[in-house]
């Protein structure tokens, strides 16, 4: 589904990614874990086309990364900071994005609006939204589109408890229907519960890529994370 080979990215002299290698199979939920500044967001931005890598190959569904519409229709990306047109109602924007993905299922959209409790606020301008509301709006868009792969950078940040539960349920349903998820998170307990695989990123390299059930034999994700951070550091 998604394969990354030897992904390298540097900002001037500062090397952020030093050859990231990653593979995600169809129907898999992969949690991308790592300390601050490890390179998680850079990797996700590279996949989404917001950053150009210096070296490496990215493929989604056998479509190589490019600025083509074919590549971009393979995924929907939710960045950590969501940029919007402040004076536009979220409903209008979602409708517009759905058309770009050629998915105009109003019933499905309304269903997700109800699930995330945005019935009233969906018609308000996005400039008035809180951080959490923007994430809810992006999640509604993502699940309505249901692209082959969902890429999310800290999707749980700012969400209220009800929305977190809604997110987990929607993601489960999405994966059951054949969807694939790659998301970064610092919430290891959540990753432990919903991910099938975990990738640890440290100093721009994947230091561990394993299925969750295999990892949990040695203890909790938190313990493994602490060990990895201390050991490598």
């Amino acid at each position: 589904m998604l394969s990354i080979q030897n992904l390298q990215k540097s900002y001037g002299q500062h090397e952020v990614l030093k050859g990231v290698e990653l593979k995600i199979e169809k129907g898999e939920i992969l949690g991308f874990v790592g300390g601050n500044g490890a390179g998680k967001t850079t990797t996700l931005n590279c996949i989404a086309g917001l950053i150009e890598q210096n070296c490496g190959k990215i493929m989604i569904n056998n479509v190589a990364k490019s600025q083509s519409l074919e590549y971009k229709k393979q995924f929907y990306y939710i960045p950590d900071t969501i940029h919007v047109f402040p004076n536009i109602a979220a409903y209008d924007w979602i409708h517009y994005v759905l058309k770009l993905y050629e998915k105009t299922d109003n019933e499905k959209l309304q269903n997700f609006i109800n699930i995330f409790g945005m019935e009233k606020s969906i018609y308000k301008p996005m400039g008035t939204y809180s951080y959490g509301m923007l994430h809810k709006m992006a999640l509604i868009t993502a699940f309505t589109i249901s692209p082959p792969i969902l890429i999310m950078d800290e999707p749980l940040n700012g969400l209220d408890p009800l929305a977190v539960v809604a997110f987990k349920n929607c993601m489960k349903e999405y994966v059951e229907k054949g969807g694939t998820v790659l998301f970064s998170t610092h919430l290891l307990d959540v990753a432990e519960k919903i991910c099938q695989s975990i990738s640890f990123l440290k100093d721009g390299k994947i230091v561990l890529h394993e299925r969750v059930e295999n990892l949990l034999v040695d203890g909790s994700l938190e313990t493994i994370f602490m060990e990895k951070q201390a050991h490598e550091g």
């Binding site: 917001l50 919007v84 047109f85 924007w93 994005v97 058309k99 770009l100």
Partner: protein, 526 residues
């Protein structure tokens, strides 16, 4: 097409958002009505002193000029901005579609505004010509406006194509500004050079003793322009063509320019958007070991200006604009192009007022709080002294103003001018610039425009600039009028300069005292 319309609407509401405060909404309407009346009066004056053909010619010229200014001021920065890259880069939408929507939404409003301003012209044309001719003329005027906009955008899209060649964005923005000004003034310069002799005769004969004499002088000047334009081969060719053919030709040219501009910008949309992530920059920190709290506040101001290349460009522009105008002004005087007696006799005052107005007319001093954008929250939540924040902002804009004023006066002296009175004028100018800089941030302090995505919104599209000018400029105008009144009562040059200097000092002290006193009262009130 429907999807494109929706995208155009998104951009349009983003570029030209309606101000939230009702006061500013009303003020903008008043400003528009004021400009419309001025435009109408100007066209009416031309109508009464010129023939219908010349009236039509100058109306097209005026309309083109206003369109050019509005497009340069409002649309260019948004059309070439990359701020939407983060919204669209990961979505399945073609760069051409985004660019096309950006161009249409960027230029639509200025063109609509100019079209509304041209409505009275249509009715005046109806008085002189038949309906068909009036409709044709107004149609030609509007198509010419669109053509000029597209031509400008096309030229700038070529420059934009080579954006990555420039060492940094500020340099690119600065070169773009020079291009815009250069393209705008080149036809005027061409006209001036070609008609240098005739213009200098008209200027020398300029008689403002009676209204009829003044209108005759203006008419003479306008005649030169009209005759010159009609002699140009391009105009002659256009006029010799059949109306339908000339319209088809103009439409075809507009279409080609539109398509070429879209292609040029879209071809580099991703490359330029990705440029931002190519380098990691750290802004300099100075005076780390100096224990001065005001220096920390100034450091913060420096960081804010450094945060956006557009702000840096505005600061550079604020410094270099008065010296450039000084060189042009002095060259005109030195080469005897301007022979009018009143200009030659009052050269030193005209120079002083030109420098003063040019130093105050920048957008730096009126928008210091809006410029902060997302950083504004930190100044509210962290233990910053609001008074010191304000003073740091005044000092920053005054510093820019002072540098530009001093450089201008040095150039003035290098041109072989300058005496004790020039020294007094320099002092007066500096004091008035500081006074203006003390006044202009006051409205922005209370009503900053912080939710901007494109830095040009914080400066150019910010209504607080207009408001700060409304209460700042009268101070300069009153002092200017007072000065000329003193001179007309035959008060000697040095005494009138000394009186104005005293008034300027008084103004500066009063405003500083008022601002500090008000702040103290605010602090002491429970």
């Amino acid at each position: 097409m429907k999807d494109n319309m929706q995208l155009i609407k998104f951009f349009l509401t983003s570029f030209y958002a309606k101000p939230k405060q009702p006061v500013i909404q009303v003020l903008l309407i008043i400003a528009f009505i004021y400009v419309a009346i001025q435009y109408f009066v100007l066209t009416l004056i031309i109508y009464f002193i010129e023939t219908p053909e010349e009236y039509l010619f100058y109306n097209i010229l005026l309309s083109n000029g206003v369109t050019y200014i509005l497009i340069s001021y409002f649309a260019i920065s948004v059309v070439f901005s990359q701020s939407d890259f983060a919204i669209f880069a990961h979505l399945p939408i073609s760069a051409k579609r985004v660019v096309m929507s950006k161009i249409i939404s960027g230029v639509a409003l200025p063109i609509i505004v100019v079209s509304i301003l041209s409505i009275p012209t249509f009715f005046i044309l109806l008085i002189e010509f038949k309906l068909a001719v009036a409709v044709k003329s107004i149609g030609f005027l509007l198509v010419m406006n669109v053509f000029i906009v597209l031509l400008l955008l096309f030229i700038l899209s070529i420059l934009n194509h080579f954006r990555s060649v420039f060492i940094n964005t500020s340099v690119y923005l600065f070169v773009r500004m020079i291009f815009i000004v250069g393209i705008g003034i080149s036809p005027m310069l061409y006209f001036l050079i070609k008609n240098y002799h005739a213009i200098s005769i008209v200027l020398a004969k300029l008689d403002a003793s009676t209204i009829s004499a003044l209108s005759a002088s203006i008419s003479d000047f306008l005649d030169i322009g009209y005759r010159f334009a009609m002699q140009q081969s391009l105009v002659e060719t256009l006029l010799s063509l059949n109306t339908v053919i000339s319209f088809i030709l103009l439409f075809a040219l507009c279409y080609l320019l539109f398509k070429a501009t879209i292609k040029m910008i879209a071809s580099k949309y991703y490359e330029h958007g990705l440029l931002v992530s190519r380098i990691e920059k750290t802004t300099k920190v100075w005076g780390r070991d100096i224990q001065s709290s005001l220096l920390n506040y100034l450091q913060r101001e420096y960081w804010i200006i450094q945060s956006e290349p557009y702000f840096k460009m505005q600061a550079i522009l604020g410094i270099i604009l008065p010296p450039i105008c000084t060189i042009i002004f002095l060259t005109l005087i030195q080469t005897n192009i301007v022979k009018a007696e009143w200009i030659v006799n009052n050269e030193s005052f005209l120079f002083a007022y030109m420098v003063l107005f040019m130093s105050c007319m920048n957008n730096i001093s009126g928008t210091p709080y809006s410029r902060e954008g997302k950083y504004y929250a930190s100044s509210m939540t962290m233990p910053f002294d609001p008074q010191k924040v304000y003073m740091a902002k005044v000092m920053t804009s005054s510093c820019i103003g002072t540098i530009s004023v001093v450089i201008s006066y040095i150039i003035y002296m290098l041109f072989g001018r300058g005496d004790i009175i020039t020294g007094l004028h320099l002092l007066i100018t500096l004091l008035l610039v500081i006074t203006y800089n003390l006044l202009s941030p006051l409205y922005d302090r209370g009503h900053p425009l912080l939710e901007w995505s494109n830095p040009s919104e914080a400066i150019k599209s910010n209504p607080t600039v207009l408001i700060s000018m409304l209460y700042g400029l009268p101070l300069l105008i009153v002092i200017g009028l007072l000065h000329f009144s003193l001179l007309s009562f035959n008060v000697s040059l040095s005494i009138s300069a000394a009186i104005i200097l005293m008034i300027a000092i008084l103004c500066a002290i009063t405003i500083i005292y008022k601002i500090f006193n008000r702040k103290n009262l605010e602090c002491s009130s429970p």
